[in-house]
């Protein structure tokens, strides 16, 4: 798959964080970018759009990113969910990886980090 064909879902309660990442992803030529502002919306948008990659914040209202990750993995065990959070503590890392996260990015997330994740996803090695 080429990177431009990827479908990407960004889940973050910070509109600023979503817009910033969305801009980075669009600049790579990816046109199908979806956004969710909390964990519940993330699960619903995942089921609706079946994205190839999900960037998931952890600290969010309603249900957390970890809970949303669990529900997405339950729905689709092959889902590629990358935790993109400000709290990359050992505890959060372990919890996310146990729940099936594909990778973990610590905020602030650089454009290079985002690009590397998407390139790996396109190659099928995420």
């Amino acid at each position: 798959m080429v990177i431009q064909d990827l479908k990407v879902l960004i889940c973050d309660d910070s509109m600023f964080a979503r817009k910033k990442m969305s801009m980075t992803i669009s600049a790579l030529g990816i046109s199908e970018v979806f956004e969710a502002a909390d964990g519940e919306e993330a699960v619903a948008k995942y089921k609706e759009n079946k994205p190839d990659v999900v960037f998931m914040d952890i600290i969010m209202p309603r249900i957390t990113g970890i809970e949303a990750l669990k529900q997405i993995i339950e729905f689709d065990p092959d889902a590629k969910v990358v935790m993109a959070s400000s709290v990359g503590t050992q505890g959060h890392l372990k919890e996310a990886l146990r729940a099936g996260a594909a990778d973990f990015l610590q905020k602030p997330i650089s454009d290079e980090d985002t690009k590397a994740i998407l390139e790996n996803a396109a190659k099928g090695v995420l």
């Binding site: 600023f16 600290i59 969010m60 400000s86 709290v87 990359g88 503590t89 505890g91």
Partner: protein, 294 residues
């Protein structure tokens, strides 16, 4: 970070005004270090000796270093060593204040010596950005040694300042902290840290300043979006708190998490435990950072 705290120190000692510092931080970008200030800082020359060389230079067409050697104040080797040093930010600030006529060489000499001895800082402390030296400076400046949870507060405030420099700018002056139990806020973002220990953290400022702070973090790109400033300042606080949590997890084994940020406008916020309100003056206005360890 030493430059900003040196600025705060000069302000507390009433040697400079807030406006002097704002101007100096702006001018500092174009300042070139002079040998006189370097020699005073290194303790190789007194301010009087520097003045003497400066005055002599008016009648003799020679470089400062050559004259200082001729007059026997320093050796050629010492001049070479001083010239080969990379200027540090706090020295550039000092040089700018001298250039702007805010401080005389003698006032600079007194201030830099007092600053070093009051904070027990050595030259090598000031040349780097060692965590230990920065923590010492923060503890001393804010009298945090008296606080319950002194270590956590020191770590938090040090991390906060590092990230202000990283994400906003270095052109600020920290003012003395106030200990408060409540705060009237026009615009305030709050985020709680929970886990091994609990804390409340906030950022607050007047509307225009708040907006400018947000623009510094996010750039101009998103500034037209409704709620831009709350979103952006909230994300800044989230990133700082996240980096703090990771740092505490890696270094001290503390396991911390955070709650989603809360926007509070036009109302009073109260704290269960005394909160440290840390005012920071930027070129665009004052922003208050509040932290209360519970």
């Amino acid at each position: 970070m030493f430059a900003q705290f040196f600025g705060g120190y000069l302000l507390n000692k009433k040697l400079v005004t807030s406006d002097d510092l704002t101007q100096a931080f702006e001018d500092k970008k174009h300042t070139r270090m002079r040998l006189g200030v370097l020699a005073i800082n290194a303790g190789l020359m007194t301010a009087d000796q520097v003045e003497h060389v400066n005055i002599t230079q008016q009648s003799v067409d020679k470089r400062f270093g050559d004259l200082a050697v001729e007059l026997g104040y320093v050796t050629e080797e010492q001049v070479d060593k001083l010239l080969s040093q990379q200027p540090t930010e706090y020295l550039l600030l000092g040089q700018t204040l001298v250039n702007n006529g805010v401080l005389t060489n003698a006032q600079f000499e007194q201030a830099i010596n007092d600053y070093k001895s009051d904070n027990e800082l050595t030259d090598s402390d000031l040349e780097g950005s060692k965590n230990e030296s920065l923590s010492k400076l923060v503890t001393e400046f804010y009298h945090l040694e008296e606080a319950v949870n002194a270590r956590m507060l020191t770590d938090y405030v040090t991390m906060m300042f590092k990230n202000i420099i990283r994400f906003i700018d270095g052109d600020f002056t920290p003012l003395e902290a106030m200990v408060v139990r409540e705060f009237d806020a026009e615009n305030l973002i709050e985020q709680r840290i929970t886990g091994t220990y609990d804390a409340v953290t906030c950022i607050t400022a007047d509307k225009d300043v708040y907006f400018e702070f947000a623009k510094r973090f996010a750039g101009e790109t998103f500034s037209d979006i409704t709620g831009f400033e709350n979103e952006t300042v909230g994300e800044f606080l989230n990133v700082v708190n996240g980096l703090f949590a990771v740092n505490q997890s890696n270094e001290g084994g503390a396991e911390l998490s955070m709650t989603p940020q809360k926007v509070i406008t036009g109302s009073k916020i109260t704290f269960e435990k005394p909160a440290y309100c840390i005012p920071v003056v930027f070129s665009f206005g004052e922003v208050d950072f509040i932290v209360s360890a519970e």
